[in-house]
């Protein structure tokens, strides 16, 4: 999807949140804000929002000399989610429809997003889990089930650390034998990389590939040839989170987007209220 003018204040807000998290040097804060303002004044609005986020986070890493500034927070989120895992597995095991409950919980995990809110705690996550247990998502669950059943290979595009533990719940139901899990190629924001997939125990369950890119999204042109081939040959793609939606919303009928619509621009693009839990292919008719 294109970048909206409404994304621009949010780029600046996110830059500030990110640089304050990474550095205590006010000079660094001001310098990066000035740079991002200059970039956005000249940006192409036909690019998707994560193009700019990729550029911002590259520059943040360069300015601070820190290759993975979110390392600690990612590990905190992974461990927090892992503590909740057995209880959630039990609930899925006891559910009338384990697949659909796993979809709901995978979407709930999408609340762990340092790009949108800058902060998330255990209470937020538990609130989302409770909501997922009682509320349906927008999208056709039966169509999703059928696509899963008919697919030989499902490419699962992970989103954030912590959230990836929730993805494990869904992958366990697909089942894992069908799944190739893709993570980001390099650390960016709190997005999941290979290490996070391993922390979630997914390396013992599925084949893991990295997409070769450091965008907080799946910018197809920026991904490795290996990933692109997988993307083009998979029967079904499950794309988690807003970044993957922003970068892939115009690409392919076999992509199921699982996300919580956290920002007004994405909610409007989806034609749904902010806060909606979505599991659907994207065409304005399908929702």
């Amino acid at each position: 999807m294109r970048t909206s003018l409404d994304c621009v204040p949010c780029f600046i807000r996110q830059t500030l949140d990110a640089v304050r998290m990474i550095s205590e040097d006010r000079g660094v804060h001001e310098a990066i804000v000035r740079e991002v303002l200059d970039w956005t004044s000249k940006m192409e609005f036909s690019d998707s929002p994560p193009d700019m986020a990729q550029r911002i986070h590259r520059r943040l890493r360069e300015m601070t000399g820190e290759d993975d500034p979110y390392r600690e927070i990612k590990q905190t989120h992974n461990l927090l989610a892992l503590r909740l895992l057995p209880e959630m597995q039990k609930k899925i095991g006891a559910a009338e429809d384990p697949l659909i409950l796993a979809v709901r919980l995978a979407i709930a995990g999408n609340v762990i997003d340092m790009g949108v809110s800058g902060n998330v705690d255990e209470e937020d996550i538990i609130r989302e889990i409770d909501k997922a247990l009682s509320e349906a998502f927008t999208g056709d669950g039966e169509e999703f089930r059928k696509a899963v059943e008919e697919s030989r290979e499902i490419l699962y595009l992970a989103d954030n650390a912590g959230e990836i533990v929730f993805d494990r719940l869904l992958i366990e139901q697909l089942p894992p034998a069908k799944v190739v899990l893709a993570v980001r190629g390099r650390p960016v924001l709190n997005d999941a990389v290979r290490k996070d997939a391993e922390t979630a125990g997914l390396n013992r369950m599925v084949r893991i590939v990295d997409n070769g890119s450091d965008a907080p999204a799946t910018i197809f042109e920026d991904c490795s040839p290996e990933f692109r081939e997988l993307f083009e040959t998979a029967d079904m793609i499950i794309a988690k989170g807003q970044g993957n939606f922003e970068s892939l919303s115009s690409r392919g009928e076999n992509i199921y987007f699982l996300l919580k619509a956290k920002c007004p621009v994405i909610a409007e693009h989806l034609g749904l209220p902010v806060g909606t839990h979505v599991a659907s292919r994207f065409s304005r008719d399908s929702l």
Copy 2:
């Protein structure tokens, strides 16, 4: 006060809100956003936030060829407040302490601010009035009363249209004979100009001056010599709203700021929570 880095995303947000209100041309929206991004990338953070707002709104008027784009909304707010006026006057007349209730209501009127929220309706205003009736403000009411009693000339710096009807309630208690009312020198945002003071009936009660400036604030250096002399000779200055606070917080011990702290940067500068109603001189000790 200086501009905070946190003001920057808000400048862009406010620019977008304003240009969308004024023009339906997406090309105009994009052009002004790009310009403001470029300006802010190079701005002096030692300037106060309204310096940038002044520049933005000048450019908006220039680009749209509309000298007073908020004319209609200002009149709507004036008339809305005028409908509520008799009831508020009755409450003040029946109050145990009319001056203090008038201060509270004048602060409540500060909710009418197109710069911060982009939108305000009758319900918001009535909610603020109810709050003002029951809740105290932060500041020393007795010190304020004493300053009023001991002053021969009080310079009252108005803020927004609509809000100026609430200012009338306070001016009636000062009493009017002591008051010179200052409004903005030219239309900017929904700030009150002479016509709004007249609509509020204040021309029949007090001397009205305009400050000679088109800033949504009182940027002293930008004001007319006549206004500056009044400012320097008045015994007491009552400055309404965030813009006047942002531009005058470091100037003079005889300035009483009456405002609702609507934004986190100002609240932090005041050392008070967002949403606090304030009637106080500004030094960190006095609050």
